[in-house]
């Protein structure tokens, strides 16, 4: 086929220009969205700082290194000042970000895992399966999430894993509902009927035919779930329910909250770090939402 015959050339010319893959098209849309790109850049910076920052700066974030309540910008060694015990706040920020982000990401994976599995089963099979699973979902929506997570963490002694699992266990219902709705919509489409007609099994139809087509809203939801999970983790550690031996942003705020009227900086900087991270994540989520939205594509 090195020398295309005229016949083949006709065939090639008649073919429509090569269609862009959906992922590539979404990325092209995403790139044009300035806030979303800013969010992505902010998040990359935060992740890099948290991953590698401790290699260049800091040391043990629990170590008392200076006089307590040193204001920021006074001593060049401690640009963000020290907390009520005299611990370096910048070192705490760099060391505490890792656990915060890791728990947020792990909790989001667990949330999406439970939510997508149950939502897919409910939406695909319908009938009594749907009824049962949706009643369970409603039940979990009645339990105030943070309170339930607090109970779980206290009952099963706090560690990064119990916290991530607890957050996942309390926050999956929304994902389940979203997945169910997508599955209900997609399972009636022709290509699903076609897959069934060639004899595909239920499991195969669910995971390789319907799920990829339900991916866009689920990806957006996963992004926003990461943000919510980070806030959740921060709330739990703020209340003192995190692992006390692991530094985290929420723990820094919680530990210093009795002294806020003496020193504003030990609570302000970790809070800003949480805010910036979740803000960046939600900008990315909004950007993905627009990028996947066919109505906005032509613009």
């Amino acid at each position: 086929m090195k020398d295309p015959t005229p016949r083949a050339m006709i065939g090639r010319a008649a073919r429509a220009p090569k269609a862009e893959s959906p992922g590539r098209e979404a990325w092209r849309m995403f790139r044009r969205n300035i806030p979303a790109v800013c969010g992505l850049l902010i998040l990359i910076c935060i992740v890099l700082a948290v991953l590698y920052g401790t290699l260049f700066y800091g040391g043990d974030p629990f170590e008392i290194v200076w006089a307590p309540h040193e204001p920021p910008g006074v001593t060049p060694e401690f640009p963000l000042g020290t907390d009520y015990l005299g611990r370096n706040i910048l070192a705490g920020l760099l060391a505490g970000g890792g656990p915060t982000l890791a728990v947020g990401a792990a909790a989001a994976v667990i949330t999406m895992g439970i939510g997508i599995s149950l939502g897919a089963l409910a939406g695909y099979f319908g009938g009594w399966v749907d009824n049962l699973l949706m009643r369970i979902t409603e039940f979990f929506q009645v339990l105030p999430a943070l309170l339930f997570a607090m109970v779980l963490v206290t009952l099963f002694s706090p560690s990064l894993w119990t916290i991530a699992i607890a957050i996942g266990v309390v926050s999956w219902p929304q994902t389940a509902r979203l997945t169910r709705a997508e599955f209900l919509k997609i399972k009636q489409l022709e290509y699903v009927t076609a897959a069934r007609a060639i004899g595909a099994q239920d499991g195969r139809i669910m995971w390789t035919v319907i799920l990829p087509n339900a991916a866009p809203p689920l990806i957006v939801s996963a992004t926003l779930t990461v943000g919510v999970a980070i806030l959740f983790e921060a709330g739990l550690s703020f209340l003192g329910l995190g692992d006390p031996n692991v530094m985290s942003w929420g723990l820094m705020i919680g530990a210093n909250r009795d002294y806020i009227l003496d020193a504003w900086w030990p609570v302000t900087f970790p809070g800003l770090a949480i805010f910036l991270t979740v803000f960046a994540v939600s900008l990315i989520g909004d950007g993905l939402n627009d990028a996947f939205n066919p109505k906005l594509r032509s613009r």
């Binding site: 009645v142 806030l231 703020f238 209340l239 803000f279």
Partner: protein, 324 residues
């Protein structure tokens, strides 16, 4: 309408039954002797106390019987005894549920009213400054940890601008004052916690009502209303908002559980004497009967809020009224 309400209440009762069963199994799932768990690890309970708990909860009997005993106790309004406070859990929560309801309802009303107002203003000019403000504000509101907002407000109002009290629910010096002074005092204390809790939801409702209004404003009946010469204000708030409000109502109902979770953090930050503060204190002391009691009552509040949402939905949407 009556049968609808009866069905919803029955269903709510079923959900609450589920919460009770969950509470029961959570205590049994915890590692260690359930009697020790119930007594609280910090208490250092004597053997007599443990024995009393074993008899009270029937811990020597098989699991289904234990569950039966527990359900019976709950039905009789007995959620156990807090071994830290030495008081029945129901009494403890009875003292604290009022402030929590006050805080949550105030925040809910504030966020819905202000949120809708901002959203409607923004929807009038989809590309205007107000719209941009609402979008930015919504993204920020979503990303700020609620306890941190509270702390920042405390710093601001305690040192820079001492207009609102930053702690507790009432002033000690007004203990002898007339009742209306006390009411005003509580409202004065309520401002900062309620605003803190409302900010997140306010931002969400503003964004939602903007989107919902934009959709409705394109409808034929809005053109009709304008064509017959209705004032802009009438068109916006009478014709459009009534239709645009339904999705907001739905979301507000669904958010109620999250609102209670948020109240827990806000109460802790502002020392508001509610259930969240109680939950926090009892979790630190591993006072499980109290924690489970709070979980029970907080879930009950969500169930009631859901029923009220369904009812108001039917009132707002005449198309649903006839159906059972």
């Amino acid at each position: 309408m009556g049968s609808f309400l009866a069905r919803r209440i029955f269903y709510g009762a079923l959900l609450m039954l589920g919460v009770v069963v969950l509470n029961f199994f959570l205590i049994r799932l915890a590692p260690g002797d359930p009697a020790v768990v119930i007594a609280g690890e910090m208490g250092g309970a004597t053997e007599e106390v443990l024995e009393a708990i074993r008899i009270d909860y029937g811990l020597d009997k098989p699991l289904p019987v234990q569950l039966g005993i527990y359900l019976g106790n709950v039905l009789r309004g007995d959620l156990g005894e807090s071994f830290f406070f030495n008081q029945p859990v129901v009494d403890l929560i009875g003292q604290r549920i009022g402030p929590t309801i006050l805080l949550v309802v105030a925040a809910q009303v504030l966020s819905i009213v202000v949120g809708i107002f901002l959203g409607v203003l923004a929807a009038r000019k989809p590309n205007g400054a107000m719209s941009a403000f609402v979008s930015v504000f919504a993204t920020i509101g979503y990303a700020v940890p609620v306890f941190w907002t509270g702390i920042m407000l405390i710093i601001l109002f305690a040192s820079v601008l001492p207009v609102f009290p930053v702690e507790g629910m009432s002033s000690v010096k007004l203990r002898e004052a007339a009742w209306y002074i006390k009411v005003l005092d509580v409202l004065h204390h309520l401002v900062l916690p309620a605003v803190t809790l409302a900010v997140i939801y306010l931002a969400q409702y503003a964004r939602l009502s903007r989107a919902s209004m934009l959709e409705v404003l394109g409808a034929d009946y809005i053109r009709t209303a304008r064509a017959k010469g209705a004032k802009e204000r009438t068109v916006l708030f009478r014709h459009a908002l009534r239709n645009a409000a339904l999705p907001i109502l739905t979301v507000a109902g669904l958010q109620f559980g999250n609102l209670i979770s948020g109240a827990l953090l806000v109460e802790t930050v502002f020392n508001w004497p509610g259930m969240g503060r109680l939950a926090f204190d009892s979790i630190l002391r591993r006072d499980y009967p109290t924690i489970m009691g709070v979980l029970f009552f907080a879930s009950a509040m969500v169930v009631v809020a859901n029923i009220l949402t369904d009812l108001s939905y039917r009132l707002a949407d005449p198309r649903l009224r006839g159906r059972a």
